[in-house]
């Protein structure tokens, strides 16, 4: 049963990765790219708790690090932290309630972009935070949150199906 979940998660992360880098990075007229991998990390952290959130964050961060060919570990840190924080909200999860996932994604996306701003731009003396906030951070946050509405539903359906099969095989043992 564990293996099935691992396999499904691998497929989900791969699909999210290709969606983000293959499709959304090439959409014209909109310069902003939504962060699908962040949505996946947030959603599963929120649905399954801290540990799964962290593990999925680890792999999403690893993917981003490898593909962006920057220092390995830079994206991993923030994805792991986001997975952990959202796992802490797990106890407030009600499966059919979409507003709360949207709120946690908003804050996670802001946190992710702030981390970027501080460690990539502020350290190089780029001080005009308001500009970056309005022109880079907010568009990405809005785009990401809008997509969360769709992707969270899909992921929560996948999670529900997985839990059903897990519960079925668990009862066999008991």
């Amino acid at each position: 049963m564990k293996i099935k979940r691992i396999l499904v998660m691998a497929v989900v992360i791969f699909a999210g990765f290709f969606l983000q880098y293959g499709i959304f990075a090439n959409v014209p007229l909109i310069d902003t790219v939504p962060n699908i991998l962040l949505i996946i990390t947030v959603s599963f952290g929120f649905m399954k708790g801290k540990i799964q959130g962290m593990v999925i964050g680890l792999f999403c961060g690893l993917f981003t690090d490898i593909v962006s060919m920057n220092a390995l570990g830079f994206h991993m840190i923030i994805y792991i932290i986001i997975g952990y924080i959202n796992g802490a909200f797990h106890q407030w999860m009600y499966s059919d309630y979409i507003v709360f996932p949207l709120i946690v994604t908003t804050f996670s996306s802001i946190l992710y972009n702030l981390y970027f701003y501080v460690f990539q731009f502020l350290v190089r003396n780029r001080l005009d935070f308001i500009y970056y906030l309005t022109h880079v951070i907010l568009p990405e946050v809005i785009y990401t949150v809008v997509l969360t509405g769709i992707i969270y539903q899909l992921l929560s359906f996948i999670n529900y199906k997985l839990e059903m099969t897990e519960r079925r095989s668990a009862t066999k043992f008991v």
Binding site: G22, A25, T32, S68, G73, M76, I81, Y84, Q91
Partner: protein, 286 residues
């Protein structure tokens, strides 16, 4: 309640352990850059070909949308260009005369022609950065095709960027519009030097920053700005763009302004990589 405590304790330790692991990776990377790149390269050489197909799909949609939108623009532009062509034809006659004279003089000075002589190879852009903070992209040629780090990349007659990482069948190019990019440049007319730096803030207006110009230097609006002779990575005399709004800084010592790049970075699909590396005379140093 008991259950919750049991679950949260190991999670905290795991977080601590994973963060330590990441910091470890970053430390390794800081002290030994390139130590982990065999790993990333191996993964990338599997991932990128898969993505190439998807990318095709993505740009396919993009192109159709863009085509319709630009048809109207193209019509009016066509009219303008026809008029421009007529006057340019006149100019060509004058230039051809100058060209032959130049050739004779160049032979006299044994100055080899500039970047028309470099060996180049074409490459396709297969991935743009999906983050919104960077401006770099990946091309579909790597060490197998003789690409090396620090090779210059051009397109449409202007400088695009520089190769920063190379894998077997791909290479990463940091474009000059990246916020972290600085290019040593000069005015084609006067030879006075300046620095062209990318700025995320300015790029939305389609500009780059032009700075460190001496107050008395002869760089004016609409001057052609090219890469300078003294740059240690960029080959000399590659067109970067045109100067704009040059003004004296408040310190009254230097001037600065903006640069409009010669390349259209929004619709970059194929680029040329110059396979000649700049020789700076420091090659034998460790």
């Amino acid at each position: 309640m008991k259950n919750k405590k049991k679950a949260s304790l190991p999670a905290r330790y795991l977080l601590f352990f994973l963060l330590l692991f990441c910091i470890g990776l970053l430390t390794v990377n800081y002290f030994k850059p390139g130590f982990l790149s065999p790993v990333t390269n191996a993964v990338n050489s599997v991932l990128l070909p898969m993505q190439k197909g998807l990318n095709h799909l993505g740009t396919g949609f993009a192109d159709t949308a863009y085509d319709y939108q630009s048809l109207e623009e193209a019509r009016t532009e066509n009219q303008q260009l026809k008029e421009e062509l007529a006057s340019l034809k006149e100019d060509i006659g004058n230039y051809q005369q100058g060209q032959t004279e130049l050739k004779q003089l160049q032979e006299l000075f044994e100055l080899k022609g500039q970047y028309t002589d470099y060996e180049m190879t074409g490459a396709r852009v297969i991935q743009k950065d999906a983050g919104n903070w960077y401006h770099s992209f990946v091309i579909d040629k790597g060490t197998e095709d003789g690409i090396q780090a620090d090779m210059n990349v051009i397109a449409g007659g202007g400088l695009v960027g520089i190769v920063t990482e190379v894998g077997k069948n791909f290479a990463k190019v940091r474009s000059i519009i990246d916020d972290d990019s600085n290019v040593s440049a000069m005015s084609l007319n006067s030879g006075d030097t300046c620095i062209v730096s990318g700025d995320l803030k300015l790029y939305s207006e389609g500009k780059l920053r032009l700075s460190y110009i001496d107050k008395n230097d002869n760089i004016w609006d609409d001057d052609k700005i090219v890469t300078s002779n003294i740059s240690d990575k960029y080959l000399p005399n590659i067109l970067i763009g045109y100067a704009q709004d040059i003004q004296t800084d408040s310190n009254n010592v230097t001037k600065s302004g903006y640069l409009v790049p010669a390349v259209d970075f929004d619709h970059l699909q194929t680029v040329l990589v110059i396979k000649t590396l700049k020789v700076t005379g420091e090659e034998n140093q460790p």
